[in-house]
């Protein structure tokens, strides 16, 4: 009999009592906590916690947003409302428990005045109760979960980014009028995917369009999308609407081209699917794709020209929508601090100031909508085009300004 396959994984284990070490460890920790300074002060530097992912698949988003925030703060020499600004960055990774651990650290240990950042909707929803219960202000730089402007709204969370509904609802009407009357929908099966698909379908159907089919793909790991592309081939729709981001966006769009669908079945999508962070990897498969978003690299206005040029200067990469949102987050922070004259001791005053912020952003007019606590902003139809040998998003049409409806009536 071969003994090779019998595993004596653990042969001998120590057996110990004595919990002293642990007690000692815990006893030492309060001493470390004494280092924290008082929070909510109105003198000294304003401390802002930055809660962003810096590792794994969302790292690019975290880095872009950080670069954007820092760029704007540099423009105002790191000063607003008469006080210096100090950023304390924490890596949320991707998981809500870690994000909440980091939020706790920022608020209770570092005693930050308020927090900015948050990429994923999961993290936003997961930390929502913490900010709400502790009456701490969070300025969200990305996560678009509709709920945070609607059912899960709290006075303490404001967005400088978008709601998932925003780019897609206007796009539905536009697609009906300009692309096709029937559409097949492909989105990942999670909150943001549902939000985006619902918004698109709502206005598309209201305009008279028909949704031929809807495919929900696994998230966060789609794997090989070929079977899903096969389903689309089989359905032979005159148009496909989709939303993907990061790795899935590249995988999906590339497979779309590989199977010869690019150019034959028009692809209309939420702008993140073909945003500047994934376009280089997608290559020609993305050429001609239409998308709706609140910004575009080639958007023609003075602010944007300044922003995109400065960003490329600073990072050597082309700006993307996340960097733009970071930049505007920096602007919102500064505007708010100016408005309260640097007094961060009263969170209600800061919250009140948030509602009155409006300025000319690289994305066009930015007006904070006090009802949805999310910007009212213009939505653009963009198309991926060859711009001097590189693929970029070029604006085809400005669909006008939209604010989140603050309820689920429009998808």
């Amino acid at each position: 009999m071969s003994t090779k396959k019998s595993y004596y994984f653990i042969t001998r284990r120590d057996f110990i009592k004595g919990a002293g070490v642990m007690g000692a460890g815990l006893a030492a920790s309060p001493l470390l906590s004494a280092c924290g300074a008082g929070g909510g002060a109105s003198s000294g530097p304003v401390k802002i916690g930055i809660l962003l992912p810096y590792s794994d698949i969302y790292a690019v988003l975290g880095e872009s947003i950080t670069a954007g925030i820092e760029m704007y703060l540099d423009e105002v020499k790191n000063e607003a409302g008469g006080r210096k600004i100090e950023l304390i960055k924490e890596n949320t990774e991707m998981t809500p428990p870690i994000a909440q651990q980091k939020a706790t650290k920022l608020v209770e240990q570092d005693k930050v005045d308020f927090v900015a950042g948050v990429v994923s909707s999961g993290v936003l929803m997961g930390t929502r109760d913490y900010f709400h219960d502790n009456k701490k202000l969070l300025i969200c730089a990305n996560a678009g979960a509709n709920a945070i402007s609607r059912g899960a709204k709290t006075p303490y969370i404001w967005r400088a980014s978008f709601s998932n509904w925003q780019p897609n609802w206007p796009l539905g009407t536009w697609a009906y009028e300009n692309v096709a009357k029937e559409a097949f929908i492909s989105v990942p099966d999670y909150g943001a995917g549902h939000n985006m698909a619902d918004a698109f379908a709502n206005s598309f159907e209201a305009a008279g369009g028909t949704v031929l089919g809807k495919q929900l793909t696994p998230f966060p790991q789609m794997g090989d999308p070929a079977p899903f592309i096969g389903d689309i081939q089989n359905a032979e729709p005159p148009m496909v609407f989709c939303f993907y981001s990061g790795g899935a966006a590249v995988t999906f769009v590339k497979a779309y081209g590989e199977f010869g669908l690019s150019g034959n079945i028009p692809l209309v999508c939420a702008g993140f699917t073909v945003e500047e962070d994934v376009l280089p990897a997608q290559g020609d498969a993305a050429l001609g794709v239409h998308s709706g978003l609140h910004w575009a690299l080639q958007l023609d206005n003075a602010e944007n020209k300044k922003f995109t040029a400065a960003y490329k200067d600073k990072t050597t990469k082309d700006a993307n929508v996340f960097a733009l949102q970071g930049y505007d987050t920096g602007r919102v922070i500064v505007e708010m601090l100016n408005s309260v004259q640097g007094d961060t001791s009263d969170v209600d005053k800061m919250v009140e100031a948030m509602g009155g912020i409006s300025f000319d952003s690289p994305r066009g007019p930015f007006k904070m909508d006090a009802k949805s606590q999310n910007p009212e902003q213009h939505i653009y139809v963009r198309q991926v085009q060859d711009v001097g040998g590189e693929l970029h998003n070029v604006v085809l049409e400005d669909l006008g300004a939209f604010a989140d409806p603050s309820d689920n009536s429009l998808g």
Binding site: S2, K4, Y7, F228, N234, V250, E258
Partner: protein
Amino acid sequence: MENFIIQLLNGLVASMLLFIMAAGLSLIFGQMNVINLAHGAFYLLGGYIGLSVVRRFDNFWLALIIAPLIVGGLGVIIEYLFLRRLYGTHRHLDQVLFTFGLALVASDLIQWNWGAYVESVAPPTLLAGHIPVFSLTFPIYRLSLIGFGLLLALALWLFLERTRLGAIVRAGVSDAQMVSGLGINIHLVFAGIFALGTALAALAGVVGSPIRPLYPGLDFEILILTLVVVVVGGLGSLQGAFFGSLLIGMADTFGKAYLPEFSLFLIFAVMAVVLLIRPAGLFGLKENGQ
């Protein structure tokens, strides 16, 4: 019907990519009794090295050779420096844990070096484009991947069944002590097999990169699927790796196409059923743990 054939082809593509991974994992296990949890990291590393080669020399075929060579060499070093310290009946768990630690470290180092952007590799020009399959279309690269996987399976089978080295490896599957007794340097065999296994992972990374873009986290995504394949097929058996890959590749593809709500769940359900009927996997050499 057309859709069914397209999905069948898709299933074969997925299966062949899985097979290249599973063959390497299974080979290492069969010879050394180590489950290499860093196998996914070697896949990703192979893919990224391939990416760098393609960027630098604009030659996919070169990447196909260089990446497995580098990763295989790395495998030898790791086997020599670390794994060798952990041989012995009582340290199987330590070996697995070591490869787990290695996977954590490798995953971070890869991100450090290549960044977190999603990267994709274009297929070689020769294989770019798509051809009609009935009224639908199918990419040429994916078709050739099926052929490549089948050829590789044949080559591995010939190596194991028809060569002296293969005979030694097969003997090692059943009895390492006996091989030592025959005066063969078992350490050399171990190092060689570990190198071959890791090189196969890197090869999978390169041939996979045109259809599965590279990004941090892909390593563990691929690893889990490969583990399911070898559990279903039976560890240490090439036939097991092959038919396990087919079963899981097909289950995954047809699950996505026809039962999308259960797509992720389906492959695990297949695994549970196989375990219920044959705890050692479809081609498992023996009842494990006996």
